[in-house]
Amino acid sequence: MRYVKLPKEKVCEFLERLKSMGTLYGPKKISEKFYDFREIGDVKEVEFEYNRTITPPRKFFFPERETVFTFDTANVEIHETLPTGNRIIIFGVHACDIVGLRIMDSRFIDDLPDPYYQIRRENGIIIGLSCLPDEYCFCSVRRTDFVDAGFDLFLHLLPDGYLVRVGTVTGHKLIENSPEYFEEISSEDKDNFAKFETKRRSMFTVQGNWDDMRYRLELHLDHPMYMRESDKCLGCGNCTLTCPTCRCYEVKDLPTLDGAGGERVRFWDSCQFRSHGLVAGGHNFRPTKKDRFLNRYQCKNAYCETTTTAYCVGCGRCTYFCPADIQFKENLLEVYGPGGGA
């Protein structure tokens, strides 16, 4: 892998350069407590030290709502509305979210690829950014706290700039086309990179790894945690909407008033909604809140072959944004039993 240094005083200029290449999105502080990925107007608005964004980066490739085609009812014809293919640059993506995108890829760009997702993804540039965990983070036990794929560039914080890892040919081109912003790394930079990593690793509230978590969960499907915690659940779906790997969608036809045409839209769905498992005739495959709660815990801990990790990347959003204060990490540790790394 190629490594270069982006000195602190060149960061803004580099962001300006990125902005000139397409639509630049990055983390912004949007309220006293919260951050979110937003379009960057002024590069000074980019927040480098954010804990987590409300919405996950998958929204750029799999928007919360999109028209898949418009239709003409009389002639039974459809007109696909494919994405335009504009270049988008997402700056400041944490390691866990990058693995989240790779998990999205594994389902949306498989042997039956989703064209809407694929076109957007192929036109996206991902710039990663290092971070320090807070008490909600458990990417360490998910093995997603350090990524070796899924980014074009990855910026690791140094006292006087960033150590940049180059992940793709697109990344190499970004460096080649803007040589004035980058310099070679020094042995001091290497030391500082190692120091940052040591510090980062020491900060996690859980240690070890949870590769066997899925077996622990499966052996205790009747664990009392599910009933107790799902009782608190409001069924609002915040956990799934903020999740970087949730990808359930619902599809609806919206006819025009005269019925002559209309559009077919798809939008994010949540397995926490009662409608998720409901079929015609009134049967529901996940009729109770506990069924739906259990469903999410199983799905998130299932194994993704592409990343060799769980579908949950340990970003902490589902707990951080839960209005009922349901603690995902603690609940999993409870089912795991002693030795979970807490």
Partner: protein, 286 residues
């Protein structure tokens, strides 16, 4: 291998409804033909697969194909009037157009059925996908040993394709095919009564060299498995066709997800056909 074309994933084809046959109070059989002759010639499916049928402005529903895979350019769907979209489909008249995408799902592994006896056990609407297997076996009769089909429903008048099966009686005898039709809770029914498993003593297949395909409610699978294994059927050759909310058909939208953390499945893509060992290793499948 070349990269799969993303434009094919959700590609729909225009189809013309040719005929509608009333089967029962709630089920109708729809015969469709592809509008585009090229698609009509190239479109193939395997028994156990399904299509997504679109009625523009109303929505889309997953429906098992119930016709013979040998009949090209045409396909039949047996549709129960159960919800908003299927109620609209029931209003369609010959000549009306719909859009179809698919076929989706794994389907039955027919090559594993060859040179073996065949047992088909259907309950209720389960007869729809199994009819496709049955017709496949009839069209390729030389590839199969003895065949038994057990068709069951609550009431006699609810038996799907009952007339069609009855009309096959003569040819069935000549072709070593046993047809068993039973109504489980119908005092007015003149034929066989009792649930499907109670008729396993009437079959003409040899459990040791028989492949079985089952489709019905989960309760039926449990009692069938128990009895079949006791009778010496090989569990490796017992298949079921499951029903879930298969909205997208391509393993994306998540509505048909089943299983647990060690085996997370999409019914539409990993299924809808599963074998006995899938069933016992994946909690929640049935």
């Amino acid at each position: 291998m070349s990269k799969p074309d993303p434009m094919k994933t959700y590609e729909t084809h225009k189809c013309r409804l040719l005929r509608v046959y009333g089967l029962t109070e709630y089920e109708k059989l729809f015969l469709f033909r592809f509008d585009d002759p090229e698609i009509a010639q190239s479109w193939r499916f395997m028994p156990g697969q399904f299509v997504e049928l679109s009625l523009l402005g109303h929505g889309e529903v997953p429906i098992s194909i119930c016709s013979s895979a040998r009949r090209m350019g045409f396909f039949e769907l047996c549709i129960r009037k159960a919800g908003r979209v299927t109620s609209e489909i029931h209003k369609l008249k010959p000549g009306d157009m719909v859009r179809i995408r698919g076929p989706y799902g794994n389907g039955f592994p027919m090559d594993r059925f060859y040179d073996r006896d065949l047992l088909l056990v259907a309950a209720g609407l389960g007869m729809a996908p199994l009819r496709s297997v049955f017709l496949y076996a009839l069209d390729n009769r030389w590839l199969f040993g003895n065949i038994t089909i057990i068709n069951s429903s609550k009431l006699g008048k609810e038996l799907l394709f009952a007339k069609e099966l009855k009309a096959m009686k003569d040819i069935a005898t000549a072709e070593n095919i046993e047809i068993i039709q039973t109504a489980t809770r119908d005092p007015d029914w003149g034929g066989l009564t009792g649930r499907a498993p109670t008729h396993l003593d009437k079959v003409n297949v040899d459990p040791k060299k028989c492949t079985a395909a089952l489709c019905g409610p989960p309760r039926m699978y449990k009692s069938m498995f128990e009895q079949m294994i006791a009778l010496g059927y090989d569990p490796r050759y017992i298949f079921v066709n499951l029903e879930r909310r298969m909205k997208c058909g391509v393993g994306k939208c998540g509505h048909c997800n089943i299983g647990t953390a060690t085996s997370w499945k999409y019914t539409c893509k990993d299924g809808p056909v599963f074998d006995y060992y899938d069933i016992i290793s994946i909690p929640g499948l049935i």
